[in-house]
């Protein structure tokens, strides 16, 4: 999903308004962004990465005070984001710049035609045909407006499109089946894919209809139909908070993202699990051959997913270890040509993880990025990339991306480990439904209310549930600002038990009814004996409920799926505790979504 923005003002702060606007559209996703400013020349700035990357690029640049500009933010799901593919696009003589959201269905035909006419394309996007079409019309002597109309007439598909011309202070825009809204302000006029892009400047808007064109100038906005006849428009006042729309009715992005997990997990699995053959297929890793040990490098939540991934591989007889990326270099971990080094990073830009991957690569290891962002730095620099397909995550605390990392790493472990995957396929296919069941039936809110005033929170688990215990504690820390620690259940008695009091609830992850569950129950009893309240996250297979003060129930599932399912309960507990404490859940203090410094 992409977003576009345009601004016509008095020329003082055009670039800032555009950048603010793009930030307001970030919820629509971002992996590259760009702006074009028009005056005597046409200045185009575009960068892969977040809007902030574009911002830093602009800081050093010589930005003229153009009175009009357009901008674009892009989230690729297919095809790489690159400087070349980022919008705005221009014609060969740099006379017009175009941003576009949508899909041009007949672009190949137009592209062939233009190529035959001698036009050189610099990107792989469908959008680039538009500036070239406009350029041709300008060559034929048409004025900018007519040239724009002629180009738009030629394209089929869905579009919200905006163009600026060199030496002109007008934005031309058109819409067909893609959102486009115009903002009427006191100090200028705006256009955008969605209201959040300019809501801080004006709440008066005009919604453009399909097939309509708009000419936006400092003096006003003129909307016309396909034939060029002026259309009467009504200016509406936005009464709702547009940010709420982005949250689809939820109070926080984090809550929305927790509830999106069944959908994002389905996306992650689509086309990758073959039940008929009982195998897992990761097409993008077709040429991955693992000969030797596997090392994972990651930070924060991704590190917990990496721990989980290494446990899965070890169980399949493959030597695997997870390392904190920031420690990887200083620990001088032996790595060589027979190693596969897997970087797990949501953004694909995490500086520590990138550094570790580069070191491994320099030492001759094969590298693999497991990431959410198509063609991110990690994906481009590594030999292989596996996408977790979770969709954009806005909340700083990772939730749905952790679940998708777990599932993607399970698939990876099966592909590397080989053997019969029938049981795993069945387990994975059931995960979205089991997560949905937890979301439907969770009593996490009640448990959170009970323990909102606790001194600290401890989380224990074994084997696959050990990384979940660590992740549960990290979520709690991040968004509640309260002390929380996760431990391997067996480690309690070697020290942490001294911290346990009646004011420190212990969350115990106990799924299944095997030896692992029984041992964790033993640890639960140790805690009970010290008077701490115990919250069992359990599928009811074992008798842990007899020893627990509260139960967060999860449906029965395979051991591999259980870790993903149980984690959802801990996400909800952290969310509700933070909510009751009135914390800034989506943007916790001192934290950023993607940490691009070491």
């Amino acid at each position: 999903m992409c977003g576009i923005i345009g601004y016509v003002g008095d020329g003082h702060d055009t670039a800032d308004v555009l950048l603010d606007g793009l930030s307001g559209l970030e919820y629509r996703g971002y992996d590259s962004a760009g702006i074009a400013l028009a005056n005597a020349t046409l200045d185009v700035f575009k960068r892969e990465g977040e809007v902030s990357a574009l911002e830093s690029a602009l800081e050093g640049a010589d930005v003229h005070g153009g009175a009009v500009g357009i901008g674009h933010t892009r989230w690729s799901t297919h095809g790489p984001p690159s400087d070349a593919n980022a919008h705005p696009h221009t014609d060969e003589r740099n006379r017009v710049a175009v941003v576009h959201n949508g899909i041009i269905e007949n672009y190949q035909e137009i592209r062939d035609e233009l190529t035959a006419a001698g036009v050189t394309f610099v990107s792989e996007t469908d959008t680039e045909v538009v500036p070239h079409l406009i350029g041709q019309a300008l060559d034929a002597g048409y004025d900018p407006e007519e040239a724009f109309r002629r180009a738009v007439d030629r394209i089929e598909g869905s579009y919200a499109i905006a163009a600026v011309f060199v030496g002109s202070e007008t934005i031309y825009a058109a819409r067909e089946s893609s959102p486009l809204v115009l903002g009427v302000g006191d100090e200028g006029h705006y256009l955008a894919s969605d209201v959040p892009a300019f809501v801080e400047y004006t709440d008066r808007v005009i919604y453009l209809d399909d097939g309509e064109f708009a000419r936006i100038e400092e003096g006003g906005i003129v909307v016309t139909d396909r034939e060029g006849l002026v259309v009467e428009t009504s200016i509406e006042t936005i009464e709702w908070d547009p940010e709420e729309t982005g949250k689809s009715g939820y109070d926080h992005y984090m809550q929305k993202e927790i509830y999106e997990q069944p959908t994002s997990l389905r996306q992650c699995l689509r086309g990758r699990v073959d039940e008929l053959e009982g195998e897992i297929v990761l097409e993008e890793l077709a040429d991955l051959a693992v000969e030797g040990p596997v090392q994972f490098v990651a930070c924060g939540t991704s590190y917990h997913a990496a721990l989980y991934g290494s446990a899965l591989l070890q169980e399949r007889g493959i030597p695997a270890q997870a390392f904190l990326a920031s420690e990887y270099a200083s620990e001088r971990i032996p790595v060589g040509e027979d190693h596969l080094v897997v970087g797990v990073t949501q953004s694909g830009e995490t500086a520590d993880t990138m550094r570790a991957l580069r070191e491994a690569s320099a030492a001759g290891a094969e590298t693999l990025a497991v990431t959410n962002v198509v063609a991110s730095s990690a994906a481009r620099e590594c030999d292989h990339a596996l996408y977790i397909r979770a969709g954009p995550e806005i909340g700083v605390a990772a939730t749905k991306t952790f679940a998708s990392q777990q599932v993607a790493l399970t698939a990876l472990a099966c592909v590397i480990g080989g053997g019969d995957s029938r049981e795993v396929v069945r387990g994975l296919r059931s995960v979205p439904d089991k997560v949905q069941t937890v979301l439907d039936e969770s009593t996490a809110r009640e448990v959170a209310a009970e323990f909102v005033d606790a001194d600290a929170y401890f989380f224990i688990g074994r084997h696959y549930q050990y990384p979940v215990a660590l992740e549960g504690a990290l979520k709690m820390k991040e968004i509640t600002y309260k002390h929380a620690e996760g431990f391997a259940a067996g480690e309690l008695k070697h020290g942490p038990l001294a911290l346990v009091t009646e004011r420190t609830p212990v969350f115990a992850l106990v799924t299944g009814d095997g030896e692992i569950a029984r041992k964790t129950i033993g640890n639960v009893k140790e805690v009970e004996a010290r008077g701490a309240p115990v919250v069992a996250v359990t599928d009811g297979q074992s008798d842990v409920e007899q020893y627990a003060d509260h139960v967060l129930r999860v449906p029965t599932s395979t051991p591999v799926a259980a870790a993903t399912v149980a984690n959802v309960q801990l996400q909800l507990v952290a969310y509700w505790v933070a909510n009751m404490l009135g914390r800034s859940i989506d943007k916790p203090r001192n934290l950023a979504k993607s940490v691009t410094v070491e």
């Binding site: 869905s158 009464e239 729309t245 689809s248 439904d433 949905q436």
Partner: protein
């Protein structure tokens, strides 16, 4: 009207559809394989609606997570009705989000775009409200109106007399005065209904018009009606004769009989026979040699090897064991202390009901959510939620 706002009422559970509504509101029940409300959105957008406000309440996360912030590029504004105190109360919850004329539709009934378009076209500032109506012989389970010269003179819920009623299709164009009327209604048993608000308007001598349209209109009153809903969609061509998602895996030796719809990630094993009139939801698995005919199978359900489902409705995540048989209707269905005779239902299995295999379902059996039936049992009648049946 160039900008048309629609308020979609989707906050109610629909308790006559229990046990299917244990985890989600009625609008999210499957019409073929997509939620009823998604069809409603499609029809609204096709009829020219440009802004959607959805009143959510019971199971609201299901609605919000399914659609997210936009549907087909149209922004969705969610309004929460914390307590479900009737459709009139729901309407008032959304009052802030609209100005001037607005369209109001029920999110839990299938409605044809022609009905919506006719209401939009007929309504003008001369009327306080315009209702979409259809001709249907039996209106006794729905809302009926008496129409005289295009004006509605009376509106009655579940009319019992033999007068010439038109059926209220649940599509309304309303002026702000209708919101006033909704506010003026005396709550009945704590609830304010939208129909009472219309009655209030009629009593106050406001102009309430009706427009009779042709087109599909289907309401699911009871769980087994979901079979009828799917049939209607196939018959009307809303769902194509054969729709198999790209991501579905169909074994080459399986037989698909039309009409049939198979959603994303579904798997049909070797030798299975699916259809005619089968709807397989997302991620459903049909085991080898299983038969699935005239059934609505909701997402994540697994039908075991050699099982037979005829006239069957399942919720999500149901497990039908190997060799189990739902032989088809008609059968008597027991709901509460009422018996619905000869309903065309083989069996209804609610969310996460599980059988261990070799189970025989007598026609009209209802199995509650999370119930478990042990291998080899024969079951009939109504089995409650979380119940375990042995032998």
């Amino acid at each position: 009207m160039t900008d048309i706002s629609a308020i979609v009422l989707a906050a109610g559970e629909g308790n006559r559809l229990r046990p299917l509504t244990a985890n989600r509101p009625k609008p999210m029940l499957p019409a073929a394989t997509t939620p009823i409300i998604e069809h409603v959105f499609d029809e609204l957008l096709e009829a020219g609606v440009t802004q959607l406000t959805v009143v959510v309440g019971y199971g609201r996360e299901r609605v919000q997570s399914h659609f997210g912030p936009t549907y087909r590029n149209v922004p969705i504004n969610y309004v929460v009705q914390e307590k479900q105190l009737g459709s009139g109360h729901a309407l008032l919850a959304a009052e802030e989000t609209v100005s001037g004329t607005c369209l109001v539709v029920n999110g839990d009934q299938l409605v044809d775009r022609r009905i919506i378009a006719d209401v939009i076209e007929t309504h003008d500032a001369g009327a306080d409200a315009t209702l979409g109506l259809i001709r249907q012989a039996d209106v006794s389970h729905y809302g009926g109106v008496i129409l005289e010269d295009g004006e509605i003179t009376e509106i009655v819920e579940n009319p019992r007399d033999e007068r010439n009623y038109r059926l209220n299709a649940g599509v309304y164009a309303l002026e702000p005065s209708a919101f006033e009327a909704a506010r003026a209604v005396d709550p009945d048993d704590g609830e304010r209904s939208l129909v009472d608000a219309i009655a209030e308007l009629i009593d106050s001598e406001a102009v309430v018009r009706g427009v009779v349209s042709e087109g599909l209109w289907v309401d699911a009153t009871y769980p087994w009606d979901l079979l009828r809903v799917a049939d209607s969609l196939f018959a009307a061509g809303t769902v194509p004769e054969r729709e198999v998602a790209d991501s579905a895996q169909i074994h080459e030796s399986a037989t698909l009989l039309e009409p049939i719809v198979i959603a994303d990630d579904a798997v049909v094993g070797p030798g299975a026979v699916v259809g005619p009139s089968a709807c397989l939801g997302e991620n459903v698995t049909v085991g080898a040699s299983a038969v699935c005919e005239h059934s609505v199978v909701d997402a994540d359900t697994r039908i075991g090897v050699n099982a037979t489902l005829v006239d069957c409705v399942t919720g999500r995540g149901v497990r039908v064991g190997a060799g189990s048989i739902v032989g088809g209707g008609p059968g008597d269905v027991h709901v509460g202390d009422r018996i619905h005779q000869d309903e065309p239902l083989g069996a209804l299995l609610a969310d996460h009901a599980t059988d261990d295999g070799g189970v025989t379902y007598a026609p009209g059996t209802i199995v509650g959510s999370d119930a478990r039936i042990h291998a080899g049992s024969t079951v009939r009648g109504t089995i409650g939620d979380d119940t375990e049946v042995q032998g």
